[in-house]
Symmetry: C2
Subunit: 657 residues, 2 copies
Amino acid sequence: MDARSMWLYRLYYSNTCQWTLSLTIFLILLLAFVETPSSLTSTADVRFRSAPWDPPCGLTESVEALCLLVFVADVSVKSYLVGWAQFRKNPWLLAYLAVLVVSLADWIVSLSLVCQEPLRIRRLFRPFFLMQNSSMMKKTLKCIRSSLPEMASVVLLLALHLCVFTMLGMLLFTGEKQDDGQDRERLTYFRNLPEALTSLLVLLTTANNPDVMTPAYSKNRAYAIFFIVFTLIGSLFLMNLLTAIIYNQFRGYLMKSFQTSLFRRRLGARAAYEVLSSMSTRGEAHPRGVGVDPQDFLQVLQRVQLDSHQKPVIMEKVRSYGGDLLSAEEFQKLFNEFDKRVIKERPPRPEYRSPFLRSAQFLFSHRYFDYLGNLIALGNLVSISVFLVFDADVLPGDRDDFVLGILNCVFILYYVLELLLKAFALGLRGYLSYSSNVFDGLLTVVLLVLEISTLAVYRFPHPGWKPEMLGLLSLWDMARLVNMFIVFRFLRIIPSMKLMALVASTILDLIKNMRAFGGILVVVYYIFAILGISLFRGVVVVPGNGSLAPDNSSAPCGSFEQLEYWANNFDDFAAALITLWNVMVVNNWQVFLDAYRRFSGPWSKMYFVLWWLVSSVIWVNLFLALILEVSAEAPSCPWGLALLALAAGSPLECPRP
Amino acid sequence: MDARSMWLYRLYYSNTCQWTLSLTIFLILLLAFVETPSSLTSTADVRFRSAPWDPPCGLTESVEALCLLVFVADVSVKSYLVGWAQFRKNPWLLAYLAVLVVSLADWIVSLSLVCQEPLRIRRLFRPFFLMQNSSMMKKTLKCIRSSLPEMASVVLLLALHLCVFTMLGMLLFTGEKQDDGQDRERLTYFRNLPEALTSLLVLLTTANNPDVMTPAYSKNRAYAIFFIVFTLIGSLFLMNLLTAIIYNQFRGYLMKSFQTSLFRRRLGARAAYEVLSSMSTRGEAHPRGVGVDPQDFLQVLQRVQLDSHQKPVIMEKVRSYGGDLLSAEEFQKLFNEFDKRVIKERPPRPEYRSPFLRSAQFLFSHRYFDYLGNLIALGNLVSISVFLVFDADVLPGDRDDFVLGILNCVFILYYVLELLLKAFALGLRGYLSYSSNVFDGLLTVVLLVLEISTLAVYRFPHPGWKPEMLGLLSLWDMARLVNMFIVFRFLRIIPSMKLMALVASTILDLIKNMRAFGGILVVVYYIFAILGISLFRGVVVVPGNGSLAPDNSSAPCGSFEQLEYWANNFDDFAAALITLWNVMVVNNWQVFLDAYRRFSGPWSKMYFVLWWLVSSVIWVNLFLALILEVSAEAPSCPWGLALLALAAGSPLECPRP
């Protein structure tokens, strides 16, 4: 390996370069919001939407070109670093190159048609850049791919189940001389094969549960059995089987990836040891045989980028060995320092002379003072709730905000006092060294500023105070802001309750662990949103005479029009995301199925069913598998502690509480 | 232990006694359908329901008295067998006694008031008899109880999450000068604290997903973030955490119970060995030291109740040892025979003389002949589907059933032919020894009978054949029956497809394993149904002038009245079960919440929320945990094979496919 490659390698993996790459990926993904059709309107509702801003041709394209150039540089450096032989064998790198070539070609076509091209394929390929950049996501994808055959078998079984019950249902509900309930069932849900299939597919997600059985069940109890058996087999058995299969595939997945990363680090440390020890023996013949000279190691450490907290700790340790050569084990042990959680040293408390100040310091730095603060915050929350309840039946115009105004003043005064007292007891730097205090202090300052500006504009509260009638600025907005901040401030109680803290910290750690899963979600959302835009852009139009308020009394109950789902369209990227979210949550998705069938044609169902399978069936189960996996890693541990251990990257020994 | 106790013990654990007990439990649970309010009407819809049959006072009561007497006998025998010291320590037996005393007292009160008492407490206690009789259910209950504290912590977190977002939501949506979307949001979903809480609780189950955000989101995209964040935290994180907690509690639960039963059997076998060996050495001083004389063992075996297939196998094995004494290991090994699956011996095929008959026999007993049969059944199914699709747009009165009639005839003729040929090839007894053939043959015979009677009534099909216009008997019903049987007949394909067979057998085995879970479901359904009847009986009444068809055009969309959920009431036991099912499936349960709030008062919400927690949150998660547990037992096995091993009761060695 020559020095130039080494320099390039270091440059490529430097923080700057990696950040630039991440930023570029972020930027190119973000473009979807700005490009035509741009999402820069306040609402997505086709009834109220103003004409969106149309970026001039060349604006977004030039940003895109910059991003693509960065990727070109990235792929060339990468291929240079791994070498041609490796490059040919690496499907990800090959795909990277291919995607770049296609994107650039598409970009040129785009510009040569003055941005009037009907289709932009390169938009579909953009999420690839995100996926390509994360090894964890590639691993997760591999895991998903390997569980596809088993999943396919269950999906096949689901399809069979659906078909059998569709036929049974159609035979059950096609009578002529039958009672009127059966006939209504037929006309509403079992009119023809596609409709019956859709009805039962939706029932599989339970999204039309009591409705689909209502006409028949109203006539005869026995018809309910058909629907209940269908739901039992489909939703309870088969859907949960899918969960189990995905979970089985992910068993040990997290653990394995942690073990792999630990193993790689050990291997790296060992290699470093070999290199250093060979150098030290080459340089001078040391009396004590093979080993690493601490001086060499210190020199290396000096030039290495490390966490600013960990570097001095390790250097201190190395110095403690004096002049002796380090053995391989000692060398390895030094690296274990990285696994330890850094315990931040708090700045020392200020020392006061006077005994009065000392006792005050003791008082205000005691944890009971914290508890008092929490109690006051709770009181504030309760007072807001009480006013919310009282004011609910009063019209906003008739409300008297006098008492609430006074109370808010008092509470904010207390918070300021608390901030000052704590800063006095712990010292300013000591106060700021706790992140909870920073959160608290920030909110208190914001509250104080808001309150002072409120008082400045509307004077001091007095009976019959109705500030929103007076000023230019909407005080109501400000008061609402203040109150919301107080609700957020209340969240500081969470770390004080042990059980809560455990579960909450679990969730936080989970979020850290699930970046790969989140990334995959972003990828599928992106692809489906772009697909949806190219398929369904502009199909949702307000019917009738074009007036802004179509009378929805004529629309049947439960239809897209009656429910006023006008904002759920695919006319721009942001709207498409929300529409996809609503279908992913599954409830009422039959309304979307029906509406897009009417607006765009029967094949639109394919798109929604596919999205349901990908998002709700696969991704949600994946997420559940992750949670189960994390919680199952250390069965003897109390919940959450296992997670903490995992998040710290240490091998799983359950810390006793 | 004296002989009389032994005799009593044997009698009590004899099949007859245990069956009587199970039957009694079944009977007393079934009473709920017949008792006032009886479920013996064809519909539960309050609009069309006829007056239900009112059983005369004393009829159900006498059946109940008989059942209670059986339970009294049961508890006295049980307490006699375990002894007073054990009885006092056993909470289940004590509770059994208490429940019986209360039930009998309530029964006497009931009769003395001539069945006009307002409340029957004993109905609530009936599921106890079911629970008390199953050790597996007691174990499961214990498991659930021990996971309650952890579940409570997550539920608490859920409640906190709900409260914080309710306050935020109320602060967000109470503007006056705000836009009209915000105001509609306030009026519809955030009018006051209880309503806002309900809206968000329902959103937690995603049952009102796009609706709750529609008014605000139509005005401004940003409002969607509030609802999405709420759903993400609540439904995705916290609800799945609950699943994980329940699953963690049930890890190893099934395995442990299998191990326990295996251990008990081994212990029993060892004890039997000790007793038998001590007897044989006492009787005659055998030269070869300690051991069991096979003759003694054979005598015991002769008098023991065993499976008719296993008994001769084991006796044969014992005889093979000749006169040597059996060592403990050999004795233990004999009992392993019980774990082996009995391979049923097929009766020998009939032997034919003529070479033609022989080759025909070879042909028709070949599995390709089975495949041909499956293909024909598939063709039949396809033909029915095609006719269903074609006939869907034709009114039932205008349909021409000529071709379908002919096709049905042809197919049924083939099925009969297949039956005869197979019976010829395998011999009648050989044919019947396959359960799949029994299923097939039975359906074929039924189809034949139906077809012949159809032909007898309506003559042979001819163009323009519209049999339903001619006869007295509705031919349409018969044809539908025939077609449904054909759909069922198609199910015989399942065992032929390997992957399908695997998954299907998994499901069947799962059902076997989940009897305890099913029992708990029955218990909670029973208790909640009885509670619901006593709380909400008769509150659902048809509004308006009492006409049978209230015009629902005046009811707002999405309300109980507009959706015509009239059949979902608590007026009798069967209706209550279906209502509870619909709430358990969760979709549209806000309609029930709202309707019962209006019909019965705001406290009815407590009942429904509690039911949601018990059924949907706890039980459904329990079920998922069971499926995961079963599938996780043998991670290296292909799915389903592990289950087969489990179901066979053998220790888990994964059989290779």
